[in-house]
């Protein structure tokens, strides 16, 4: 029925209805995403044959260790977000100031690590940072230190490893926003008497807020569910929520409690989205392009 009256913007005659195009993806999500998620939520309420119960959540709330782990997860995620922002902002700024060709080339360098498994990259850091690793040996050979520094199995190592893995997301988010900022705005600011610093603080920085928000959200949410890096490079004090979920399933076969932990992780993620919605909803005033 689409023939004849279809407007040109809809692509002309014979084009299938939207739901036909959406169906495969929806079906896939239903089977492999919605169903498992619903199953997980139900398991977290499983009363072992006696209907539904909140006892798993009660346990989660009553034993301090779990709240501690949620708090550690939050801390590590926030710090990782901050590190990627501090490292990524100048890098994205540099890229956005280059000519498109050069910027594209350097952007490939930023993205290349993606082509390697995260496991391989994490082991590479371990080779670098270990007690007998390259960094320690170099420092000892140079006579700067006498005994190896503890670079591994601590918070520093976790933040380093995670920031390294997540940096490209932050750079891409910032770069796309910075690229859209009209450079004549900065010229205008200079012509109106602004020094480089004032022009940056009053004009450029506020215009990159949407990029900071978007990059921050992506990095923060990905950090919340991080597993490999904190598991391999952290100590017991850096235990994150996904690690205890794995532990509950693999070691204790406690699917219900693991599910309740996973539900909390999901809730945290949704809260982060909600906060972003609220903030960036307001920030729509601050779009770089008119």
């Amino acid at each position: 029925m689409t023939a004849g009256l279809a407007s040109p913007s809809q692509g002309g005659a014979g084009r299938p209805r939207p739901w036909v195009l959406l169906a495969p993806a929806l079906l896939f999500l239903l089977v492999f995403f919605i169903y498992p998620m619903a199953d997980m939520l139900l398991r977290s309420l499983d009363g072992q044959g006696q209907g539904y119960t909140l006892e798993h959540y009660a346990r989660l709330a009553s034993e301090p260790v779990w709240l501690k782990i949620i708090s550690i997860t939050f801390q590590i995620s926030l710090l990782t977000t901050l590190c990627t922002l501090l490292l990524g902002y100048p890098l994205a700024y540099l890229l956005s100031a280059l000519r498109p060709r050069m910027a594209g080339l350097l952007m490939i360098l930023v993205i290349i690590p993606y082509f390697t498994s995260i496991l391989v990259r994490t082991y590479a850091w371990m080779v670098l940072l270990g007690t007998d690793g390259i960094v320690n040996r170099l420092l000892i050979d140079l006579g700067l230190i006498d005994s190896p520094l503890a670079l591994m199995y601590n918070r520093f190592a976790v933040l380093l490893g995670m920031s390294y893995v997540l940096l490209p997301y932050m750079v891409l988010a910032l770069y796309s926003v910075m690229r859209g900022i009209d450079s004549s705005l900065l010229r205008a600011a200079h012509s109106l008497g602004a020094s480089r610093l004032s022009a940056f603080l009053r004009i450029f920085l506020p215009l990159t807020f949407p990029g900071i928000a978007a990059g921050g959200l992506i990095v923060f949410i990905m950090s919340l569910g991080f597993f490999v890096t904190p598991a391999l490079m952290g100590s017991d004090l850096d235990t994150m929520i996904s690690m205890v979920i794995q532990q509950q399933v693999e070691t204790y076969f406690d699917w219900s409690f693991a599910s309740s932990l996973a539900a909390v992780l999901l809730a945290l993620t949704l809260i982060a989205f909600f906060v972003y919605e609220r903030v960036v909803g307001m920030e729509h005033l601050f779009r770089a392009k008119q």
Binding site: S184, R187, S191, S198, A199, L207, A288
Partner: protein
């Protein structure tokens, strides 16, 4: 270092009397700009009087915007010197030149309100809050937008954004205002209205204005003087009437207004002020002004403006006047005037534009006619000038 003026300062463009005019003198001497090996601006020298409105007119790529950007301080000249009020500003950053700049796309800060946009240069100059508010209010009044202070730029129309950009560039009382195709994005009606507004503000404030445009009509309407640029050079500078009446070469004659070009040969040149006699393609002769350097026998191009020509029936005898004989090829009715295309025997066509008055003769296509012009209205150029494009 900066003077902040209120908008009620008496206008005194270029006047040496009364209080000192707010406008600063501006001079460029032998300014060049190279990008790699290619020259964007070559050997540009220009002296602008305080309070003068000077337009850099040229096609895209003529170097007019580059010249403006060098005055603004966004680009450094490769060589040459730019002086404001006699002081060299080479190497001085844009932020310390104290010039108002209006950009082609307005460049309003999208995250700030109109009021905050206009207050920005005042904040950069650390002007107190009360004074700042008063100056912003005055500036908004000046551009007739007193109640748009709390809007964001994207909530305004193109013309309103343009006014805000103008207010922001003027609020701190700059002595020189630079404008880069400020009306390019507006439609014709609004553009003409804004031209008048800019002229009014220029007259009120008396700041020196350097205006860049590719629109020759805009340049003619607004400027005290026009510098026509081509290929990075100034090919001619003068008052609008000078450029229109006495173009320096064929390119300028073609770029400013419409022109007919007739190839001729100089027959006699008595002395500087007497008319020159030239031979026309059909063998007759005409007397014209211009080209005092041409020798007898030299090739020359005769420039005839369409609106200065008259059509008569060919059979009527008008011995002794300048004329070309041909046949009407096409007649176009324009409302205020009628444009006729006349084909000469050698194939060239001449455009004639006559005002539509009661009784003005209408000619039909195919009719044999003669095209007449007064001696003062024929302008002679060297024939083989290299600047034709």
């Amino acid at each position: 270092m900066q003077e902040v003026q209120s908008s009620d300062r008496p206008a005194s463009a270029g006047a040496a009397t009364a209080r000192a005019p707010i406008g600063a003198g501006l001079s460029l001497s032998q300014v060049n700009k190279y990008y790699g090996k290619s020259a964007a601006v070559q050997d540009v020298s220009l002296d602008i009087e305080p309070g003068e409105f000077v337009t850099l007119l040229g096609a895209s790529g003529s170097g007019k915007t580059t010249t403006l950007m060098m005055i603004a301080g966004f680009t450094d000249p490769s060589s040459g010197e730019i002086r404001i009020d006699g002081k060299s500003v080479n190497g001085l950053p844009a932020s310390r030149r104290n010039l108002g700049v209006v950009f082609q796309n307005y460049s309003l800060f999208p995250h700030l309100t109109v009021r905050q946009n206009i207050a920005f240069p005042l904040e950069m100059r650390k002007i107190g809050r009360a004074e700042r508010e008063r100056l912003v209010r005055d500036a908004l009044d000046m551009v007739h937008l007193p109640d748009k202070g709390d809007s964001y730029p994207r909530q305004l129309s193109g013309g309103q954004q343009q006014r805000v950009a103008l207010a922001r560039a003027l609020v701190f009382g700059p002595r020189v205002l630079l404008m880069d195709e400020p009306l390019g994005a507006l439609d014709k009606k609004l553009r003409e209205h804004m031209q008048m507004e800019i002229k009014r503000i220029h007259n009120e404030l008396g700041a020196t204005v350097v205006y860049v445009t590719h629109d020759q009509e805009e340049a003619l309407t607004m400027s005290n003087r026009i510098a026509v640029m081509q290929g990075g050079r100034i090919v001619q500078i003068g008052r609008p009437a000078d450029l229109y009446e006495r173009p320096a070469n064929r390119w300028v004659a073609d770029f400013i207004g419409q022109s007919n070009f007739v190839e001729t040969r100089v027959l006699s040149r008595p002395d500087d002020n007497a008319p020159t006699t030239v031979g026309l393609p059909d063998g007759s002769t005409a007397t014209v002004r211009g080209a005092p350097t041409l020798a007898s026998g030299a090739a020359a191009t005769l420039v005839l403006r369409p609106e200065k020509l008259r059509l008569r029936n060919a059979d009527a005898s008008h011995a002794g006047t300048n004329r070309l004989v041909g046949a009407v090829q096409e007649v176009v009715y324009l409302g205020h005037a009628t444009r006729s295309l006349v084909r000469l025997p050698d194939g060239t066509t001449i455009q004639v534009q006559e005002a539509n008055r009661t009784g003005s003769g209408q000619h039909a296509p195919g009719q044999a006619v003669s095209v007449h012009w007064a001696y003062e209205d024929g302008w002679l150029l060297a024939g083989d000038d290299g600047a034709r494009s």
